[in-house]
C-alpha cells in the first residue's frame, strides 16, 4: 500500500495510535512513579516527595514478600506441569489424527472460552463437595487446568507446520524413533514449548479470579494486593509491580531479539 490509500489520513491514525498507547501505559507509569513516592501515612495516594527507600525495603513487608514468593513458586510449577502436559497434547494433536481428537479439541476450546469466574467457582464447588482443602496445591491444579490448553495450542501450531519429511529423513539416515524425537523433533519444537511455558507462567502469576476461588487462605501476589487495597497499598507493591513489569519486558525483548532470524545470505 502506498501512502495515498488512506482512510481519513494515516497521520491522524498514527497520532491516534500513540494516544491509545499512552492511555495503555498511563496506569503503568503511575504505578512506577508511586514506587518512588514518600507518603507520610498509610496511604500512598498523593505525591509527597521522592525516595528510593521502598526499593531498599522491598522485602520489608513479610506477608507481601511471602505472597510474591508464593506466586512465583506456583507460576513455576504451573509452567512446568502445564508445559509438559500441554506439549503432549499439542504434539499428539498436531502430529496424528486419532479418535477422540475432536472431543479433546472441543474440551480445550470450552476451557479457553469459559469465564474464569465459572471455572474458579466450579472448581471450588468440587473441592468443597469432595472435602478437599484449598491451598497452594489447589491453586496450582487450577492454574495448570486453565493454561494447559494455551500451551497445547502454541505447540500444536508449530507441530502442524513441521515438515513431516524431517522424521523420514532422520529415519532414512539411520535414526531410531527415539533418537528422531530427541535429536530432531524436540529441538525444533523447543522454541514453541518455551513460548507455551512462558505463557503459562504469565497467566499463572497474573491470575486473580480463579486463585481467589481456589486459594483458601493462601495469599498470592495479586490476592494480597486485592486485600491490601482496602486499607491502602504500601509502596512496596508498586516496587514489586515495577520489578515484575521490567522483568517481563526484558524477557520479551530478549527472546524477540534472539528469535529474529539472521540475515539470509544470498547464494
Amino acid at each position: 500500500m502506498t501512502g495515498r490509500f488512506r482512510i481519513g489520513g494515516a497521520r491522524l491514525m498514527h497520532i491516534y495510535t500513540w494516544v491509545l498507547i499512552a492511555w495503555l501505559v498511563l496506569p503503568i507509569s503511575v504505578m512506577i512513579l508511586f514506587g518512588f513516592n514518600d507518603p507520610s501515612g498509610r496511604y500512598n495516594q498523593t505525591w509527597q516527595g521522592f525516595t528510593l527507600k521502598w526499593y531498599r525495603d522491598v522485602f520489608a513487608l513479610e506477608a507481601l514478600t511471602d505472597a510474591l514468593v508464593m506466586s512465583l513458586i506456583i507460576a513455576v510449577l504451573t509452567a512446568l506441569i502445564a508445559g509438559a502436559l500441554g506439549t503432549g497434547i499439542g504434539y499428539a494433536l498436531g502430529r496424528w489424527q486419532f479418535r477422540g481428537a475432536a472431543g479433546l479439541n472441543l474440551l480445550m476450546f470450552a476451557a479457553i472460552s469459559s469465564p474464569e469466574l465459572v471455572m474458579g467457582s466450579s472448581l471450588l464447588s468440587m473441592f468443597v463437595s469432595l472435602g478437599i482443602s484449598p491451598g497452594p496445591v489447589t491453586i496450582t491444579i487450577a492454574h495448570v487446568m486453565f493454561s494447559v490448553s494455551f500451551v497445547a495450542i502454541v505447540v500444536r501450531a508449530r507441530v502442524v507446520t513441521l515438515d513431516r519429511s524431517l522424521e523420514e529423513a532422520a529415519a532414512d539416515l539411520g535414526a531410531s524413533g527415539w533418537t528422531t524425537f530427541w535429536k530432531v523433533i524436540f529441538p525444533i519444537l523447543l522454541p514453541a514449548i518455551f513460548s507455551g511455558v512462558m505463557l503459562a507462567f504469565a497467566l499463572s502469576i497474573d491470575d486473580f479470579v480463579i486463585t481467589n476461588f481456589t486459594g483458601g487462605t493462601t495469599e498470592t501476589f495479586p490476592m494480597w494486593i486485592w486485600g491490601a487495597t482496602r486499607v491502602g497499598l504500601p509502596p512496596q507493591v508498586n516496587v514489586m509491580g515495577t520489578m515484575i513489569f521490567v522483568a517481563g519486558v526484558l524477557i520479551a525483548v530478549i527472546s524477540n531479539v534472539r528469535s529474529r532470524p539472521k540475515k539470509r545470505v544470498a547464494a
Binding site: 498509610r42 478437599i132 482443602s133 484449598p134 483458601g216 487462605t217 486485600g227
Partner: protein
C-alpha cells in the same frame, strides 16, 4: 462490658478441653490473622511478646469482613486442615455462630488464661454468642456509627437521617456486611435490631432500598470504607469507631466519628483458635499476654477501640501523668474517650446485634438484605 441476650450456648462435652489441649506443645511461633487498623503497624505488643516468650508472631491483616473470612476458611476447616492461622479475630456476628456451630473453634483452656481471669470485664463471660467464653475471649469491642469528612460536609452530622440525605447523593457509604447494614436500616426505621423479626427486617430493607434507589449510596463497603473516605469517594459513611481515630493519626486527616442520635451498635471482636491450629499453645499464650494490664493499655491507646480491660483506664492515666505536652493531652483524651471506655450514657444509645435462633432465621435475614448489597 458488652452484653447480649439470647439462647444460652450449647455446651461442649466436658472433656473437650482436656482432649484438645492434651499433648499440645509450644512451637515458638504462631500465625495471627487480624483486621487491618487493629494494631500499631510497628506491632509493639507483638515485639514485646516475642522478646518475652521467644515466640515469633506472623501477623497478617487478612480479615476485611466476616462473611468472606468464614467462606475462605470454611472449606479448609471442614476438611480438617490447617488454615495457616493459629489465632484469629472474629466478630460476634452471624459467622461467629457458624464457626461455633460447625465445631471450628478450639475450646479454650482457661487455666492458661490467668491474666484474662484477673483483668477482663466480668460481663463478657455472660455474652450471648459465647457464654462462659468457651471458645473466645474479646480482642476489642467497638461501635458502629457514622464517620464523615468535615471539609466536605459543613452541616453537623448527628442523625442516621444524614446517611439518607439527598444532598450527599453518591457520596454515602454503607457497610456490605448484612448485619451492619441491616442494623442501620432497622435503627433508621426506629426499630431495635436485637428485638427485630422478619417484618421489621422487611421494613428496614425497604428503607435501605429507598436510599439505594435514590442513588444516595456510593457503594457498600467492607474495611475498604476507610480508603474510600480517604480518597473522597464517600463523604459520609457507616464506620467503626477506632478506625477513624487511627486514620487521623496515621494520615493526618481530620475525619469525625459520631454515634447517631438514634443510636449505634456495639459489637465485640474475639480472639479464637481454629480447631485445626498447628500452634494453639503459642496462640493462647499470646491471648493471655494481651490481657496483661500494661499490654491491654498500650493496645487500646493506639487502636482506640473499646478496651475489654477496665483497669486500663487508670493505667492510661498513669501513662499520661508520666508523659508531657501533646502526648499527655493525647493520653488523657483517650482515657476519657467514651469510645474507649464507654459509660452508661453511651451504652444506653448502643444496640446489640440481631440474634438468630435458627439457621432459617439467619437465612431469611440474609435473603431480605442481600439483594440490597448485590442488587
Amino acid at each position: 462490658g458488652v452484653e447480649g441476650k439470647g439462647k444460652p450456648q450449647a455446651s461442649v462435652a466436658p472433656d473437650a478441653v482436656a482432649k484438645f489441649w492434651a499433648g499440645k506443645t509450644q512451637k515458638g511461633q504462631l500465625n495471627f490473622a487480624n483486621w487491618p487498623l487493629y494494631m500499631d503497624p510497628k506491632l509493639p505488643e507483638l515485639k514485646k511478646f516475642t522478646a518475652k516468650t521467644g515466640i515469633k508472631v506472623k501477623y497478617d491483616e487478612v480479615i476485611q469482613e466476616m462473611g468472606p473470612w468464614f467462606a475462605k476458611v470454611q472449606p479448609q476447616l471442614s476438611a480438617g486442615q490447617s488454615i495457616g492461622y493459629d489465632l484469629m479475630v472474629i466478630t460476634n456476628s452471624v459467622q461467629f455462630g457458624q464457626f461455633r456451630d460447625s465445631g471450628f473453634l478450639a475450646p479454650l483452656d482457661h487455666s492458661k488464661l490467668p491474666n484474662y481471669a484477673a483483668n477482663a470485664a466480668k460481663s463478657y463471660a455472660a455474652s450471648a454468642y459465647d457464654p462462659g467464653n468457651v471458645f473466645s475471649i474479646p480482642y476489642a469491642s467497638g461501635i458502629t456509627g457514622i464517620a464523615y469528612d468535615p471539609s466536605k460536609i459543613k452541616d453537623p452530622v448527628t442523625s442516621l437521617a444524614d446517611l439518607w440525605n439527598p444532598k450527599y447523593k453518591g457520596k454515602v457509604g454503607m457497610f456490605r456486611d448484612l448485619q451492619e447494614l441491616g442494623n442501620f436500616g432497622l435503627l433508621a426505621a426506629g426499630l431495635d435490631p436485637a428485638k427485630s423479626d422478619e417484618n421489621a427486617w422487611k421494613t428496614a430493607a425497604a428503607k435501605l432500598k429507598e436510599q439505594k434507589d435514590a442513588g444516595i449510596v456510593r457503594n457498600y463497603y467492607d474495611q475498604g470504607y476507610v480508603d474510600a473516605l480517604g480518597k473522597g469517594e464517600v463523604w459520609i459513611t457507616q464506620a467503626w469507631s477506632g478506625d477513624i481515630f487511627q486514620k487521623n493519626v496515621s494520615d493526618g486527616t481530620n475525619f469525625k466519628f459520631v454515634i447517631p442520635q438514634e443510636g449505634g451498635t456495639i459489637w465485640t471482636d474475639n480472639m479464637a483458635i481454629p480447631i485445626t491450629a498447628e500452634n494453639p499453645l503459642d496462640a493462647i499464650t499470646l491471648m493471655d499476654f494481651l490481657y496483661d494490664l500494661e499490654n491491654a493499655t498500650t493496645l487500646a491507646e493506639y487502636i482506640n477501640y473499646v478496651c475489654p480491660v477496665p483497669g486500663a483506664q487508670a493505667q492510661m492515666k498513669k501513662h499520661a501523668a508520666a508523659a508531657s505536652g501533646e502526648d499527655k493531652d493525647f493520653l488523657l483524651s483517650v482515657a476519657d474517650s467514651p469510645l474507649v471506655f464507654p459509660g452508661d450514657a453511651e451504652y444506653k444509645r448502643l444496640h446489640y446485634y440481631v440474634n438468630f435462633n435458627t439457621a432459617e432465621e439467619k437465612n431469611d435475614f440474609e435473603r431480605v438484605f442481600q439483594p440490597i448489597v448485590l442488587g
